[in-house]
């Protein structure tokens, strides 16, 4: 029996090492190796998907001794919450590497960083050991820092530094919480399964641990008011960096919110649920309004992420507050599906914005107009992605947000005001579409080329999956539901 999870996890890293070891490879070889290893990773993720999950607990668990003296081990595995995110990572990194294959500025280091990020992303979602999780969680930071600092836009140094310090400051409380859980366990261990099965902390200690975790994940998600690093980092990051940051790394926060905060300190979370819910609602609505006020396309997409992640927080909080297992399953189904959909849709949007910027060297919406006529393919794909993002039925976000609202209505009806966010986001995108793509084409953009095959290959898979998830969400939901329906808190 192949250790599928470990293979999938370390394939990208092996690719990165191979690339770094080759003496003076050409850019073509570098990109070739990267795409092949990402493709093999996707094959691995698909194989994991076919194996599926078994409902209660974790499946496909692989375990190796690491530091038995302190109860830490290499433990990986998946359940219905993490498996979709693993698949999402594999898909998104493959298309990101396809998109990046035209890069000629130090491709070796760049591609190695992307592959390293892929390993850390899959590692974060599959780790079942507290230390291992933290290791992956932090290494992702370092690689993203170097990516923004090395290949970003004008003001990249400052943005990269802000990103690094902000998120490091954010993630250290998690370290405290992990230590707390470790020292609180009757038989000290870093096994996350044990922490989930028998939450080791209670009372005030659990509340402190929860607060520490909430700070960490709120920075990562990002939730208002800890979101200020996000627009800065996105605006300066290279396109692939933005896609990965929004598509994958924000999910570290929401995934952690479910895996750590909800599952390991359930009682404290229930007590604090209303506060978390409040922050979720504020994030969603604030993100929507902030997006509406942007004139820069990339910032706009960045703020819609704050809005969409706000819904995830609302969903998780609703799951904590409710006492009805059916409602809880609905809320978590919605939250996890929202993470998956957001990765696909926002990934596509950032790619498209990147393509526009590459052609025009600007992202100011007022500079454009009538792009639908000059670059029809790019334009229509953007329209499709934008509609998906604003939650149109039949596209990926709709089933997710629908379930979140349904569950919220069942627990705390007042929180349904969050639905306002949808209307504002709709307005935001319609305004953006009107300014950028509709109207009379401007002369200066007449020579703008439409999408190249490479770019189509990068975006199309994401949009195909977006439609597939929207039309028949059951292929993802089945897996998610198998775990959420038996979740005991």
């Amino acid at each position: 029996m192949l250790p599928l999870v470990s293979l999938t996890l370390f394939l990208p890293l092996a690719g990165a090492v191979l690339i770094l070891c080759l003496p003076k490879p050409t850019a073509r070889t570098v990109h070739g190796i990267a795409i092949v290893s990402a493709a093999l990773t996707l094959v691995g993720a698909l194989a994991m998907w076919l194996q599926g999950v078994s409902g209660e607990g974790f499946s496909q668990v692989e375990e190796l001794e690491w530091m038995p003296a302190i109860g830490a081990a290499y433990r990986v595995g998946v359940d219905g919450i993490s498996l979709p995110l693993v698949l999402l990572s594999a898909v998104l990194f493959l298309v990101a590497l396809i998109y990046a294959s035209s890069l000629r500025d130090r491709p070796r280091a760049y591609v190695a960083l992307v592959l390293l990020l892929e390993t850390t992303a899959i590692g974060t979602f599959t780790a079942l050991d507290g230390i291992l999780f933290y290791v992956f969680f932090e290494v992702s930071l370092v690689s993203m820092y170097f990516m923004i600092a090395g290949w970003g836009h004008e003001d990249r140094q400052r943005a990269a530094l802000m990103f690094f310090i902000y998120t490091l400051l954010g993630s250290l409380p998690l370290l405290l919480a992990i230590l707390g859980l470790y020292l609180g366990s009757p038989d000290p261990t870093f096994d996350m399964r044990a922490w989930i099965a028998h939450p080791p902390l209670e009372g005030a200690a659990a509340m402190w641990a929860l607060i520490a975790m909430l700070i960490t994940f709120a920075v990562k998600i990002p939730a208002v008011p800890l979101h200020t690093w996000l627009p800065a980092a996105h605006v300066q990051a290279p396109t692939v960096g933005s896609v990965i940051l929004a598509g994958i790394m924000l999910k570290f926060g929401t995934y952690g919110l479910v895996r750590f905060a909800l599952q390991m300190t359930p009682d404290a979370f229930r007590e604090a649920g209303i506060v978390v819910l409040f922050f979720g609602v504020v994030s969603a609505i604030y993100g929507a309004f902030a997006a509406l006020a942007q004139t820069d396309l990339k910032r706009l997409v960045a703020y819609t992420s704050v809005n969409h992640m706000g819904y995830v927080i609302v969903g998780v909080a609703a799951a904590a507050l409710t006492l009805d297992p059916a409602v809880r399953a609905t809320a978590l189904d919605g939250a996890v599906l929202q993470m998956f959909s957001h990765g696909l849709v926002t990934g596509a949007l950032f790619f498209l914005v990147g393509m526009i910027q590459e052609r025009a060297q600007t992202r100011e919406m007022s500079e454009f107009g009538g792009l639908l006529k000059t670059v029809p393919l790019l334009g229509w794909l953007f329209v499709l992605a934008a509609f998906a993002s604003l939650g149109l039925p039949g596209l990926a976000h709709f089933p997710a947000e629908f379930q979140i609202f349904l569950a919220t209505l069942g627990t705390t009806p007042i929180a349904v005001i969050v639905i306002l966010g949808i209307a504002i986001i709709a307005g935001t995108f319609l305004k953006a579409l009107r300014e950028t793509f509709l109207g009379e084409p401007r002369e200066r953009w007449n020579k703008m080329p439409d999408l190249s095959p490479r770019e189509i290959l990068a975006v199309a898979p994401l949009l195909v999956l977006t439609v597939a998830t929207g039309v028949a969400p059951s292929w993802v939901l089945d897996i998610i539901h198998r775990t959420t329906s038996v979740l005991v808190l």
């Binding site: 038995p68 370092v142 170097f146 490091l168 370290l175 405290l176 020292l183």
Partner: protein
């Protein structure tokens, strides 16, 4: 007697090596002196391995053969070898080259005496032995800054050591014995206990460059040869911190020593990083960073006696610290002393650049590097004895430290038009060895933890 001497074979080997290196120097054979020194220390390291797991004392309890003193040898002897290889570049061809190697070994012997001290007199002996050797080493270049730095170092050391001896006389008076193990016997005189303890902290704190006894450190590091700075930041410091650990192991907790240590930890970490933040000289920056890192050790020392995690965390972090700090100094030795010298390093010499990034991130405590495992254990130890607030301050300081170390990393990846001087072979080799150690200690911490569990 015979048993006691057998247990001391590594120390004896170190002493003989120092003498051997000195004899070779007298014969004007500096290369042979270096060879003797390196081989002798490696042999001593090898001889230590068979002692692993021993926990006993020799000569009536005055010297301890325990995890601390054994691991001190395993960490500090290789670190001394690496410092010597760096020193070779600094002193090559100068008059009395071999004395440098000999003095380095004497200083290391002092640090080993400190790390195994079971008697207050050994604290004094160790401090003096390391001190005398290192004053000479700092003054070695015979330039104005070096002489000034050595002078400052000397005056500072004399005062603090005298204070320590003065304080120890209280302990002797109160307990009637110079053995550290007899300290609990004097709980009838709490004032004497705490007075003596504060004096010991002054004496060892200067050696470990804890704030507020750190003033000599940045000047000595900057004034002397770079290799000596690297050495000072690792060997005497770890020796002194291990000595402090030996002392507090037997102190009754109700004397309130934990509060003193915790206070020093906060001061050292915070002041060290704040001061490092405004340095333009890489050596001074690393000097302040090493002051702050000493503060982290204290998180483990606070837990000594009450938590099982304390000793493993201190030893593990010492190994990690020796590797990453020596590595960072070695890169500086191959690059230059100011931040401007680091412009474009990462592009001109990618491997050196990656190594430096790894060292600095490890100093911050980013996983999965050595510094992370060490700090992680230290935090766990502190939290285990209800010093959560101290762990939180340490964590906040880790963020501050990121800003400090990124000040070196950021210029490294700037595009710079300049021809880089090609480094000597030795710094390159030292960088590679410490680089490997930083990764291995991080990923295979089990080796250390398993050795400590017994």
């Amino acid at each position: 007697m015979g048993r006691d001497l057998a247990l001391l074979i590594p120390e004896i080997a170190v002493l003989l090596t120092a003498v051997g290196a000195l004899i070779a120097e007298m014969l004007r054979r500096p290369r042979i002196s270096l060879a003797v020194a390196v081989i002798g220390l490696l042999v001593a390291t090898g001889l230590t391995l068979r002692l692993l797991g021993t926990d006993t004392t020799v000569f009536g309890g005055s010297f301890r053969i325990d995890a601390l003193s054994i691991w001190a040898k395993l960490i500090l002897l290789p670190a001394t070898v690496l410092s010597m290889l760096l020193a070779r570049v600094d002193v090559r061809g100068s008059a009395r080259e071999g004395t440098v190697y000999s003095l380095l070994i004497f200083a290391t012997l002092g640090a080993l005496v400190l790390a195994g001290a079971g008697d207050t007199m050994f604290l004094v002996l160790g401090t003096l032995l390391t001190g005398l050797a290192t004053f000479a080493l700092v003054a070695y270049p015979d330039t104005d800054p070096a002489t000034e730095a050595a002078m400052k170092f000397f005056v500072f050391a004399s005062v603090t050591t005298s204070i320590m001896i003065f304080g120890l006389s209280y302990w002797f008076g109160a307990s009637g014995s110079t053995l550290i193990a007899d300290l609990p016997g004097m709980d009838t005189m709490p004032m004497a206990v705490i007075l003596g303890f504060v004096a010991v902290v002054v004496g060892l704190g200067y050696k470990a460059s804890l704030v507020p006894f750190h003033f000599w450190a940045p000047d000595a590091y900057e004034g002397g040869p770079l290799s000596i700075a690297a050495y000072l930041s690792v060997v005497p410091k770890v020796g002194a911190l291990f000595a402090l650990t030996q002392v507090v192991r037997d102190l009754p907790p109700e004397t309130g020593w934990t509060a003193v240590i915790a206070g020093l930890a906060v001061l050292s970490m915070t002041y060290g990083y704040l001061a490092a933040l405004v340095q333009d000289n890489v050596i001074r920056l690393l000097a302040y960073s090493s002051i702050a890192q000493s503060g982290y050790f204290l998180l483990g020392i606070v837990a000594v006696g009450s938590s099982e995690l304390a000793l493993p965390s201190i030893i593990l972090f010492a190994a990690a610290y020796a590797a990453m700090n020596l590595g960072a100094f070695a890169v500086a030795a191959a690059t230059g002393r100011t931040l401007n010298d680091f412009d474009g390093l990462g592009r001109a010499r990618p491997i050196m650049g990656i190594a430096m990034v790894i060292f600095l991130l490890s100093l911050v405590g980013i996983p999965p590097l050595a510094g992370f495992v060490g700090k992680f254990m230290l935090f766990a130890a502190a939290i285990d004895v209800q010093f959560t607030w101290l762990a939180i301050i340490a964590i906040v300081n880790s963020v501050l430290s990121l800003a400090v170390y990124l000040r070196i990393v950021v210029p490294m990846y700037r595009t710079a038009e300049k021809t880089t001087i090609s480094p000597g072979t030795w710094p390159g080799i030292v960088v590679m060895i410490t680089f490997a150690a930083t990764l291995i200690i991080g990923l295979a911490a089990q080796i250390f933890l398993a050795g400590l569990a017994t």
